[in-house]
């Protein structure tokens, strides 16, 4: 079976594209680096590096002897460009070949086509056409079929009107970034050909952006401030305001695009006037204003179309359609004027920026490959045996902004080029000659895995298979030079349900210093102005699953009621910023959003902060826990463990007595010694009770998991199912690790999820309503509303409208005092 070419390239004066036909569909490929489907037809030679596209375009006009654009206009001439960086001359054919080769790298399917369709302007003569063919051959294509651009665009248009019989003539109006072309195309008995054409090589979108600045922005600025030579200052190379010119040009282009969709927009800029004042200006632009300034240029292009019609002795009624090509045809004025002036329907179905490439790909999909030897499109290079062998050396972890990479290669690398690209598209080394050893400085993005690919290309920029692995550099973590944290750094927060406090991890073990984090927590108890109530921000070092008393206190901030200008309400926010320097100084900053007060302290690890009253509280709590657990263990006949706990309890009694005899203003080291003993005892208590504690946490977890599963089965829902699976995805790891607080967090997530599902269960909703309906009206904060809501709920229940019942439940919940619901528990440290 004969194969078709399938690949097509729109080799444009300003931009080029590559497209592929397969199974009736056309795909226009995107650059792996710029993500755009257009590649600026610009080539730059920067020392040994060849750059094609966006990055080369940035250098246009800056390094004119080494950077080349618009060479398509010189195709077929004997003109050559001397490149000082290479010390050789390049012909327009060679430069075009560079663009074609670069387009091959867009092919994500990894294929290496040996045949291609390349489009040429209608105006190209035989010599220019042959020059284009030669460029294709130089780019490594063995077979090049040419297609005129207007015909390609017409084909794209023809494929949008599938089923209709297309006969007759139409106009192709191509207004791109820098050139304008018009062509008359005729379809006669299935034969499509360009009858006549017209054009202006120096008109396009960039001219419209400049007009916005010249006719609207500059006059506006001149009317608002003192600018004697604004246009000159902006446009002159090395002029006073050259920097602003580029910013304004970018904003003018954005405004132009905006005006295609809306009636008005504005350009915002900051610019320094002649007196040295930098001010901000907001310049309004309406679509009418924009149309006013571009009308002459656009009307001129339409006149060229008219000339074309007249010259070919046609009536406007002889023309079926106007096919639009080029980004500038998005301008509504272009479309409107074409319709108004010519009275011919304007085709809006094809994407004007890709129409030529798409049409050419349709053509390529029908064109049979002529070359007879077995050189048809090759599969991806990765499927072949490696021909270049690579040994690399680089740091796999780094805290630097860039990392040195070296490679030593062997195999068939003579005449080959290499290229390194960062996976996120943020770095492209460009093409460089591959030598036995080469090196690059690779820029890194912070705190993530930076992955780069190293590829080799032959002189046609076809990929050469190699055994190069992806280059992976982790930035910011596990660096051998950085200091890792030996333990978790945690904050003590209230655990209302369990009448105690627990640890919340702020910085994880092995994180690299320095560290900084801001968290926002709610106050879990009312702290009255002037009272002895306090909010305690206690930062501890220890394992996250442990009890706070067993951890090493690093620093504590106490905010007393006496320091407050007014009551600190339960539920208000406290913003806590913790900073741990490389030398392990801890800086704690607390900001009370409600009062606007800020509290801060710096804790040095060499000095310990022990609050005597807190120490007493902790020892008392530990004693309470030890006694309670001891009884439990004895009741369950676990005598050995009970004896261990009893020993701890006895030692706790001793230090409790010592503590009680200490004065509040004691200056000795005793409180530190006691604190140390307390911590040791808390740790051994922790160790003894760890298993019993983790068992109950796991039981709660499995209860929540079973309930969620039960309701998911009863009310299947794919998205909630997905969430459920995500929650339990790493179940084995966290259950094995026995991290209490993490398992609790997962339990909470499951409870939230099961609540969402339960809301769909009429029985459950009804039960919930009955619970709230049973609570006496006078216990609600608004008893009349409670009565009314209960009645509404009963009615909704009668109608079996469970959504409404649920809404009533929410309303009842909102007016029921929360302290009654959660048993009136108050916080301990005051942080929830």
């Amino acid at each position: 079976m004969s194969k078709t070419i399938n690949y097509a390239i729109d080799l444009g004066t300003t931009n080029s594209l590559i497209a592929h036909y397969e199974g009736g569909k056309v795909e226009v490929f995107k650059s792996p680096v710029s993500w755009k489907n257009t590649l600026p037809s610009v080539v730059a030679f920067r020392n040994e590096r060849i750059i094609v596209g966006e990055k080369a375009k940035e250098l246009v006009g800056k390094d004119p002897s080494n950077v080349f654009g618009f060479f398509k206009r010189k195709m077929g001439t004997s003109e050559t460009y001397y490149v000082p960086n290479l010390k050789i001359s390049k012909s327009p054919i060679e430069l075009s070949a560079c663009v074609l080769k670069e387009l091959k790298t867009f092919l994500v399917n990894g294929e290496q086509p040996s045949s291609v369709v390349i489009t040429i302007p209608a105006s190209f003569d035989t010599i220019q056409s042959n020059a284009t063919k030669k460029a294709g051959h130089e780019a490594g294509f063995q077979e090049v079929a040419l297609l005129q651009e207007p015909v390609a665009a017409s084909l794209a248009f023809a494929n949008t009107v599938e089923g209709e019989v297309l006969e007759g003539q139409w106009l192709v109006y191509d207004l791109g970034g820098g050139t304008f072309d018009a062509a008359l195309v005729k379809l006669d008995n299935g034969d499509m050909r360009v009858v006549d054409h017209e054009g202006d090589n120096y008109l396009g979108g960039l001219d419209f952006d400049t007009l916005i600045l010249d006719k609207i922005v500059i006059p506006y600025l001149e009317s608002k401030a003192k600018f004697a030579h604004l246009a000159d200052d902006l446009k002159t190379k090395d002029g006073r305001l050259e920097k602003s010119w580029f910013e304004l040009l970018y904003k003018a282009e954005q405004a132009k695009i905006q005006l295609s969709a809306s009636e008005e927009t504005e350009i915002e800029c900051e610019i320094e006037d002649d007196e040295g004042w930098e001010r901000e200006y907001i310049i309004p632009i309406t679509r009418a204003q924009f149309e006013g300034i571009v009308a002459d240029k656009i009307d001129g292009t339409i006149q060229l179309l008219n000339d074309l019609i007249v010259r070919n002795n046609l009536q406007k009624s002889d023309i079926n359609q106007v096919v639009l090509v080029g980004g500038s045809t998005y301008i509504p004025y272009v479309r409107r004027r074409l319709t108004e002036t010519l009275g011919i329907p304007v085709n809006l179905k094809t994407d004007p920026t890709t129409a030529v490439a798409v049409g050419a790909a349709f053509y390529a999909g029908t064109k049979t490959i002529q070359i007879t030897d077995d050189t048809a499109t090759k599969p991806a290079a990765s499927n072949e045996k490696p021909r270049i062998f690579v040994k690399t050396a680089y740091q796999k972890v780094s805290q630097e902004t860039q990392e040195f990479f070296t490679a030593q290669i062997s195999g068939e690398y003579q005449g080959a080029q290499y290229r390194i690209i960062r996976e996120d598209g943020g770095y492209d080394s460009g093409l460089k000659p591959a030598t036995e050893r080469f090196s690059e400085l690779l820029p890194l993005t912070r705190d993530v895995f930076n992955t780069f690919t190293l590829r080799f290309y032959d002189k046609f920029q076809n990929a050469i298979p190699s055994d190069a692995e992806p280059i992976s550099i982790m930035h910011g973590k596990f660096n051998l030079h950085g200091q890792p944290l030996p333990n978790d750094i945690c904050l003590e927060v209230d655990d209302i349900e369990n009448h105690t406090t627990r640890l919340e991890v702020i910085f994880e073990k092995n994180a690299i210093l320095p560290l900084r984090k801001t968290i926002i927590r709610t106050i879990s108890k009312l702290i009255e102005k002037g009272s002895n109530d306090r909010l305690i921000i206690n930062v501890l070092e220890g394992k996250r699953g442990a009890t706070p008393a067993s951890c090493l206190p690093l620093g504590v901030i106490e905010i007393k009621g006496s320091e407050l200008p007014f009551n600190l309400v339960k539920g208000s926010d406290v913003e806590i910023t913790l900073e741990l320097s490389e030398s392990r100084d801890l800086k704690v900053n607390a900001y009370l959003a409600m009062t606007g007060q800020e509290f801060h302290n710096v804790f040095n690890p060499s000095e310990r902060h022990v609050l005597l009253h807190k120490l007493r509280d902790e020892v008392r709590d530990l004693l309470f826990v030890a006694r309670k657990e001891m009884h439990n263990l004895e009741r369950n006949e676990r005598f050995e463990l009970a004896a261990r706990v009893k020993k701890v309890e006895e030692e706790l009694q001793v230090i409790s007595a010592q503590l009680n005899s200490l004065r509040d203003n004691d200056m000795s080291d005793q409180k530190y010694q006691i604190e140390e003993q307390k911590r040791r005892l808390a740790q051994s208590l922790d160790l003894s009770l760890q298993n019993t504690r983790i068992e109950s946490v796991k039981t709660e977890y499995f209860d929540a998991r079973n309930e969620t599963e039960y309701f998911l089965k009863k009310y299947p829902n794919p998205s909630l199912q997905q969430r459920y699976e995500k929650i339990i995805a790493e179940e084995r790891a966290y259950l094995d690790e026995g991290d209490n607080s993490y398992i609790r967090m997962k339990t909470e997530e499951l409870n939230t999820l099961s609540w969402e599902i339960k809301q769909r269960d009429p029985q459950y909703v009804a039960g919930l309503f009955h619970y709230y309906a049973m609570l006496p009206d006078n216990e609600y904060t608004d008893s009349r509303r409670a009565t009314m809501l209960k009645e509404m709920g009963e009615k909704a229940l009668g109608r079996q409208n469970y959504d409404e019942v649920l809404s009533v439940v929410y309303n009842l919940y909102a007016i029921y005092p929360k302290d009654k619901l959660d048993g009136g528990q108050a916080g301990f440290v005051g942080l929830g």
Binding site: V33, S34, W35, A44, R46, R49, I51, E54, K55, A56, E58, L59, K62, D63, K237, D238, E242, K243, F246, E247, L249, Y250, K251, R422, D424, G425, G426, Y427, D428, S429, G430, P443, T445, D447, V448, F449, N450, M474, T518, I520, E575, Y591
Partner: protein, 104 residues
């Protein structure tokens, strides 16, 4: 999914730039930091490359070069920041920066 966040982050970037220029802009710093941290937690990161060296291998920005020098360039103005999205230690670039470069 990301497009609305990108719009917000671009405005946020503008806001931050303006706050830095205001004489009493410091009062805005706290809510600005909080917004940034909230976005950070969601995985979005706005990077302002101002002051960083520039050369043509940097494809994380689209540059406009002021003056005739093309070596030793530094980013002197940022019209749009670089926006990343991080998911399980992997970075995706959502928006390339738009910058002005010149030789200092």
């Amino acid at each position: 999914m990301h497009s609305n966040h990108i719009k917000i982050l671009n405005q946020f970037f503008e806001l931050e730039k303006k706050a830095q220029k205001m004489s009493d802009g410091a009062s805005l710093q706290r809510p600005i930091d909080r917004i940034r941290e909230a976005y950070d937690e969601m995985g979005y990161r706005v990077h302002n490359p101002i002051g960083e060296p520039y050369n043509e291998t940097r494809t994380d920005v689209e540059a406009n070069i002021v003056g005739q020098q093309t070596n030793g360039l530094v980013i002197t103005d940022v019209i749009k920041p670089i926006i990343y999205f991080k998911e399980s230690e992997r970075n995706t670039m959502l928006q390339k920066g738009i910058v002005i470069c010149q030789k200092p």
